[in-house]
């Protein structure tokens, strides 16, 4: 194994982990406000398809990015209406949203399957210009990758250092108490879901506009559920989400390296490791779960009738 291949695992992990990271950050915000979104897969698909479509039509990947983010936020508003306004069950509403996303993205994306786009431009890391092209291309990142860690820090700052974030976490812990202290749980949850959808939309845009430069039906292939697992893995914390996303995508990159080195280990079994790890982590800190998970996650806020 050469230096290139080891750096390559890192580079691959960054490239394919970015969409996971944005999606996970969004889901952290949503879950911190007390709403679990199992429809993430659908939100990603709708965003990825509409972002790709806008990129094809306008020829501008940044407009596509914008569209994907906005559509992601709007799609999440459906979930918001169901679970906040109509007090529907979160898990069922999320799954319904997933099926909605399967269908809507197929409809939006159909005319653009196989279209060729110019993806988000890549900007090399400063200081790598003297290296051979193979190495510079390893760390030639698009804008979304460059902004991923700042975004995680921003999310952390919003959640833990602003009044709004304090309110959001209070709603996630106990909506009734938050209401009693003068906050509007419904409004905060809508805002959290919109922000969550924006970030998921950025993650989806990275997948379709920057990384694969392609749209196909069901191209997310379960990444929405991976993000939900990642939120648990990172214990509802935006900074740990960075590590989580790198671990999950790095595992895939490492698996591919082993495969092409001729090592005889089932890639399927290697792919299960992150999930098994997450379950083990859960077991390890099972007793004091309440310290991390928002206490009213999944509960309906009934208001004060």
């Amino acid at each position: 194994m050469s230096l290139l291949s080891i750096l390559g695992v890192l580079s691959s992990a960054i490239f394919s982990g970015t969409s996971l990271l944005y999606t996970t950050l969004g889901e952290v915000i949503g879950q911190r406000s007390g709403i679990v979104n199992l429809g993430l897969e659908g939100v990603l698909l709708v965003s990825a398809s509409s972002g790709f479509a806008v990129t094809v039509i306008t020829g501008n990947p940044f407009l596509g990015l914008l569209a994907a983010a906005l559509i992601g936020g709007l799609t999440n508003m459906i979930l918001g209406y169901l679970v906040i306004h109509r007090k529907a069950n979160q898990l069922a509403s999320g799954l319904a949203l997933m099926f909605f996303g399967f269908g809507l993205s197929a409809l939006i994306g159909k005319p653009y399957v196989g279209a060729r786009i110019n993806g988000l431009p890549r900007i090399p890391l400063p200081g790598t210009s003297g290296l051979p092209q193979l190495y510079t291309s390893l760390f030639s990142f698009d804008i979304l990758i460059h902004l991923s860690i700042p975004t995680a820090i921003l999310v952390w700052w919003i959640l833990f250092r602003t009044r709004w974030g304090l309110g959001l976490r209070a709603v996630g812990e106990n909506a009734d108490t938050a209401f009693a202290s003068g906050r509007d749980p419904r409004l905060i949850r809508y805002q959290a879901l919109f922000l969550s959808g924006l970030l998921a939309g950025l993650g989806a845009a990275h997948l379709s506009i920057a990384y694969t430069m392609n749209w196909t039906e069901y191209m997310t292939a379960g990444r929405g559920f991976i993000a939900v697992a990642l939120v648990i893995f990172s214990r509802w914390h935006p900074m740990r989400a960075i590590v989580g996303a790198l671990v999950f995508s790095g595992a895939v990159a490492f698996q591919l390296l082993l495969q092409s080195s001729g090592v005889q280990v089932s890639p399927f079994l290697l792919d299960t490791i992150p999930y098994v790890l997450t379950i083990l982590v859960l077991i390890a800190w099972g007793g004091n779960r309440r310290q991390s998970a928002p206490a009213s996650l999944g509960c309906v806020y009934h208001g004060t009738e």
Binding site: L95, F100, G103, A106, Y218, F268, L282
Partner: protein, 350 residues
Amino acid sequence: MSQTAKTFPRVSLSNPLVNNLIRYLLMILLALLLFGIILLVTGKDPIQSYRDIFSATLGSTYGFSEVLLAMIPMLLTALAVALPARVGLINVGGEGQVYIGAAFATWGALAFQNKPAWILLPLMTLLGMIGGALWAFVPGYLKSIGLVNETIATLLMNSIAPKIVGFLIFGFWHSPMDTVKTDNFVSAARLPTFFDTRVHLGFVFALVLLALFWFIMKYTRWGLEMRAIGGNAQAARRNGIPLKGYLVTVMCIGGAIAGLAGMAQVSGFYGVLLLNFSMGLGFMGFLICWLAGGDPIGIFLMSFVVAVITTGGNLLQLTQGLPYAVINILLALALFVVLASPRFFEGKKA
């Protein structure tokens, strides 16, 4: 029926059955209207589309049989959610349990393929149920000792199960000619079908289990105790009901039913074990169960409606040039409309 515990939002069916039917009908009409608008916007003919959907499902014997066929896994996976829900457990793991049940049944089908059907099929059924039960045991046990929330554990295990199926197919059950599946099952390993259609014995399994579920919940001590646990677990424990035992057992039985759905898919529907064959069956079951309020009759009706939509969508791509996946929009709209009607669903929302 009205005294049933409120652990699960449910439609009361004894008195306002007709009422509810009308309400559901109105909701489905609303969904059809919304989808019709989407079709119009994309330049398709909604009326012709609906004609196609209904002619492809209820307009012919074949279409109707396909609807029943599509209902089989839905009924079973919905039941796999409904039973644990009665003791307050949320089983989102149907998807994974379906895969493991299918894998166990496939092992039976491939390892004992020279046995006659009357040995092979019961064996595969049993294996499928054991597989699903084992996959549900882990989250059930972790929940019962208070370590990990079962919703989270079942979700995570959903992601693991299809990879294990992949490992088994490519590691052991695969020849280079087989692409992404096992060898075809021998005919003795196929569930018998009825009247020259594709509807197989799994339909009978599902109906019997639904009836059994209804009977046990309504008329037996187990049903009473489970309702007690679902109502207030700690109070039930103080009253001498073995809480841990119930939680684990009920979760395992739920898993076993989902495993049976997996067995029915590989043995009845496919006749092979195919990589990633489920594509959301377990999640569909979860939705159906929630929309039906965990009620056996509601599950039957909901599965029927969902099956009509998904089966009918097949013709749309031929006549309207719509991608097949687009039918999921109609499905989701119907689900949204029902979900947005909390008047029917009272009680704890988890």
